[in-house]
């Protein structure tokens, strides 16, 4: 757990970057710091590993005051991922990943073996290890950056706009990968971004900062979207707040019934009961089956595209379990909103 207690940061030029911040970042969870530029989110992150020293207040990582530890040793115990990866251009990918283990005094062979293992963890081919960073794509470099941060298996990971410099498709892949990794590793992650969609997607808790270094609200994404603390947060979350909330809710609790028979449209299945398409007397339309893990937002989207207003639901093997109607989804979406409000209150 990371605890900020009345932390204040004023730079020598007189600007206050962080204003009297008290905040807890829970163990094993992803805390996302969001806000426009100059709101103090990056300063907050960088005070955790003492890249910036606070003017007053205390920061504790797993109970220990960071200023009482040797700065270099503290940094080796905290993973750090930077925008555009910040890899060492003169070291191979493998040696980049092995940086912290080597600093900790591991022998080269053990450090390289660990680096090779991490290459696989972050989804890179083994032969990428011998290359130099400039020979990789932006997305691949970013993966190496994540692998480097994980090398010595630190309990805490700091990520400073790590996916800011890659295109949206690659960014989505990297976000998925991070969520998958986090499920396995349960690190305490502090993630800085200015992209609210990224925050909603990745965060267990989101801390919204306002220019001048003020923390306005810190809450789980659903609560934040349902009940923003003030107009600033509401503005920051954007006009599509309701839709973002739907992206957090899954289909699991939406009721389903048997597929209709004898109507204008029938759902055609293959021998294993996997949906193939919707068929009428003279037309066929594609079907995109959804599982319990899909979001209400994609269910709503699918129900609009479907000729019957019904969505086909399947289990993990792809076999049909039933269908849900647009109304079922609507009702549940409305419930999601009011539930979130109750929780927030």
């Amino acid at each position: 757990m990371i605890q900020f207690d009345a932390v204040h940061k004023r730079f020598p030029n007189g600007t206050t970057a962080v204003h009297d911040l008290s905040l807890e970042m829970p163990e094993g969870g992803v805390t996302v710091l969001v806000g426009s530029s100059g709101c103090g989110k990056t300063t907050t992150l960088r005070m955790i590993n003492r890249m910036i020293e606070p003017t007053s207040g205390t920061i504790r990582v797993n109970g220990r005051d960071v200023t009482e530890q040797d700065a270099a040793e503290l940094r080796r115990s905290i993973g750090y991922v930077i925008q555009q990866a910040g890899l060492f251009p003169h070291r191979t990918v493998l040696d980049n990943i092995a940086t912290v283990p080597l600093l900790l005094g591991w022998n080269r062979k053990k450090a390289r073996a660990r680096a090779a293992e991490l290459l696989e963890t972050v989804g890179l081919a083994a032969d990428a290890g011998k290359r130099y960073p400039h020979q990789l794509s932006g997305g691949q470099q970013q993966r190496v950056g994540v692998a480097r941060a994980l090398a010595a298996d630190p309990p805490v990971l700091l990520m400073d706009e790590p996916f800011g410099a890659v295109d949206p498709v690659v960014r989505a892949q990297l976000q998925d990968e991070l969520l998958r990794l986090q499920k396995e590793l349960s690190k305490t992650i502090v993630f800085v971004t200015h992209d609210i969609d990224e925050a909603v997607r990745l965060g267990d808790r989101i801390a919204v900062f306002r220019t001048g270094g003020y923390l306005v609200q810190c809450a789980p994404p659903a609560e934040l979207l349902a009940r923003p603390a003030d107009d600033f947060v509401a503005d920051f979350l954007g006009a599509e707040r309701g839709l973002k909330l739907l992206s957090l809710k899954t289909l699991a609790e939406v009721p389903q019934g048997p597929a209709p028979e004898g109507g204008a449209w029938t759902l055609v299945l293959d021998a294993d009961r996997r949906p193939l398409h919707w068929a009428s007397k003279d037309a066929e339309l594609p079907v995109r089956p959804l599982t319990d893990g899909d979001s209400l937002l994609s269910a709503l989207n699918e129900s609009i595209a479907s000729p019957t207003g019904l969505i086909a639901r399947v289990d993990a093997t792809g076999a049909l379990t039933g269908v849900s109607s647009r109304d079922d989804i609507h009702v549940h979406a409305g419930q999601a909103h009011s539930e979130a409000r109750v929780v927030a209150a």
Binding site: N49, M51, A72, E73, L74, R75, R76, S77, Y80, I82, Q84, G86, L87, F88, P89, H90, R91, T99, V100, L103, Y132, H134, Q135, R148
Partner: protein, 213 residues
């Protein structure tokens, strides 16, 4: 102007030892030049207020005429190889110091920042991140300093040293062009070979710069 080929054949031993002596004087100067420049460059790179002074000083030293520098050194180190090397070293400083400072400046802030954030201490960052990344610019300086020193060694003929430069005085005094031509050719050859070796050394030392996309 004709070349007396038999003179060359009769003097191969002398020519070999003069060439080696010439090379040794130049390389020693570059070596000491580096030894002095590297720490001073780190100082000039880190302490902004010293930068102008140190670079200015190396410029001023460079403007001292080469013969004058040897004469000025005579009371200190006499007619010796030491005088030659000190004189040449002074001239290498201007390129070595400037290029090393520029090389260190060229290391991306992001990379130094990453080293620090990983928990690398300042000295280790300097040795394992900053110097390696500054190497291409430092090497450009070493190449200029080497070629310059090889061509300057001859001036030390005035104090009884001078390597291949001795062939020039010999040739002029006897009005015999062969040693002069041989001296010029060997000096050029030496410079070209030394430069090629440095290019090869840099290639070996900076593997990340090959196959640059």
């Amino acid at each position: 102007m004709t070349i007396d080929w038999s003179w060359i054949g009769d003097h191969t031993d002398d020519l070999t030892s003069l060439t080696l002596s010439h090379l040794q004087a130049a390389m020693t100067a570059v070596f000491f030049g580096l030894l002095i420049s590297l720490p001073l460059a780190v100082l000039a790179h880190r302490v902004r207020s010293l930068r102008g002074f140190l670079l200015g000083l190396s410029n001023v030293l460079f403007t001292i005429p080469s013969i004058a520098i040897f004469v000025l050194l005579l009371p200190v180190s006499g007619l010796t190889r030491t005088t030659t090397v000190i004189g040449l070293t002074v001239y290498t400083l201007v390129v070595l110091l400037r290029n090393t400072v520029e090389g260190l400046d060229s290391v991306p802030a992001k990379t130094k920042e990453a080293a620090k954030a990983m928990g690398t201490r300042p000295l280790r960052t300097l040795l394992t991140v900053e110097f390696p990344l500054a190497l291409p610019v430092i090497f450009a300086g070493i190449r200029i300093a080497t070629v310059m020193s090889i061509s300057l060694v001859s001036v030390a003929t005035y104090i009884g040293d001078g390597g291949l430069g001795q062939l020039f005085t010999d040739g002029f005094q006897r009005d015999f062009p062969t040693p002069v031509i041989v001296g010029v050719v060997l000096t050029i050859l030496l410079a070209v070979v030394a430069d090629a070796l440095l290019v090869a050394l840099q290639y070996v030392l900076t593997p990340w710069r090959r196959r640059r996309a």
